[in-house]
Symmetry: C2
Subunit: 295 residues, 2 copies
């Protein structure tokens, strides 16, 4: 049984904290939102405070690079509360260069650092069945091992230092983000041609045009259910990281850039807090098309 | 047993003609390329000539709308050689409006017309296991039934007149074409980050970023094998149809347009006759990245 801090108790971190608790760990959660924290303490976890015992592992599941930097190494950062030789598991989607910087800071404090972006959504987070795209030293993998076992059913071991984990996540986000936007165009085109969208899903599911995202998100459009499982607002951030990495490599990615522009336009149009399937609304509205409505 | 003409004996039509022969039909093939025709006659088929007996069914598997129009209703077109009440099964990817025009011409000759674009690739065509996205009158479906049974394992019945079949195919091609271009950007980005592409395929295959096209085409890049199963040159044509349909509906499709521009650039760069996975070469070369090479 390890002492594990979980920083960030949003849709992913919440389920990860509960998975760690189910595995028997002593979990200390932190989130500025007291309601989120209460769910963890109600399940046997504790609130992380300055008096909490030093941790073996810190799992950081915040939104972005800035929050990661602050949560770990800011003035009130938690890295210095780990045991000597403790391990940081950093899960936010960030640029590989940033992950490398964080690893260096951790190592300067005598800590191990696992570059460990996550994939799978909130349901699998709650079930302890995430995929983790991880890279780090063998010592970082060893230190994180028990926590990873509790949170994930698939651990991709991608390299011996920070960087490749975040690079792999960027590649996945490029594909996922473009595929959702392509779904939006496909459903708008189908609507313009008078096709029934439920039938389109049936056909595409067994055709060469299918994608994981199409099969997962098209039902949201068909059901007119834009309750956010994953928000539009995720994509300007994640595809922004992808294009930033690509810019550094002097690699033009016109398709990714176009998808990024579409998500930014959707956010500007007030769709930012809706499910990312709502990109379809942006496309359909440009031609005055009627999508299914909630009945 | 029916008398069936098969017009166009390329990578798809060839396998379809052989599937029809295996099912016991009397097949008359036509293709300007004598080698292709010889493969069909060597398997028990016949060369289609002006003296051939009148057909029950004509399966038209040519490249595009112009060839379809010429093969069916041109000066030397074959529609007039069908039995009265015979059925045309038209498989080329065309705009729905064009399919509606062809149906009207067929009906004016006392024939039935099935708008029947195909999907599945040449291997499944040879195995009689295509997917067919079909629409047409009940009489057209009845007339085509035995031929469809021999050529396909999945027949999507999408409407009672020509149009929806071709519209559905356009939706599928939008997705498939964008997904291949997205794969190209993803593999180029992965290369720029020093990731091993075979490992990337392993990870993406079980992640939210996967697509049918990614899993099918990424191995071509990893193996540096650009033998054309489906050529780059298909996509300026097929995505051109998609954007043409969308333009008519006043529907902007920025992602599809960007993918179309990429395929045109690839064709201009001399990649037109290579496998469509070669879109990755166009993207990688723009940043001077080295993809796997054939060893």
């Amino acid at each position: 049984m390890s002492i594990i801090y979980t920083i960030g108790l949003g849709s992913m971190g919440q389920g990860m904290a509960l998975s760690l608790l189910r595995a028997g760990h002593e979990v200390y959660g932190f989130d500025p939102d007291n309601e989120r924290l209460a769910k963890v303490t109600a399940s046997g976890g504790h609130a992380l405070t300055r008096k909490t015992p030093a941790a073996d592992v810190l799992v950081c599941v915040v939104l972005n690079a800035t929050q990661t930097q602050d949560a770990l190494f800011g003035d009130d950062g938690w890295a210095k509360h780990l045991k000597s030789g403790g391990t940081i598991v950093s899960c936010a989607t960030v640029a590989p260069d940033f992950a490398i910087q964080m690893e260096a800071k951790a190592q300067a404090l005598g800590l191990h650092y696992l570059d460990a972006p996550i994939s799978g959504g909130s349901v699998r987070a709650a079930d302890g069945q995430l995929s983790i795209m991880a890279s780090g030293t063998p010592a970082a993998f060893d230190g994180a091992d028990k926590a990873l076992m509790a949170m994930a059913d698939t651990i991709h071991r991608l390299g011996d230092q920070a960087g490749p984990g975040s690079a792999m996540k960027a590649v996945n986000q490029l594909l996922a983000g473009v595929h959702i936007a392509a779904m939006g165009e496909a459903l708008a085109l189908a609507t313009s041609q008078g096709l029934d969208l439920a039938r389109v899903l049936d056909v595409i599911r067994v055709s060469a045009g299918t994608s994981w995202m199409f099969e997962n998100r098209a039902p949201h459009v068909i059901d007119a259910d834009y309750t956010p499982r994953s928000m539009i607002n995720i994509w300007p951030k994640d595809l922004g990281i992808v294009t930033q990495i690509a810019d550094t490599a002097k690699l033009p990615l016109p398709l990714t850039q176009t998808a990024l522009d579409q998500y930014r336009a959707a956010a500007d149009a007030g769709l930012g807090l809706e499910d990312d399937a709502a990109i379809t609304k942006l496309i359909a509205s440009s031609a005055g098309l009627r999508l299914p409505v909630d009945t």
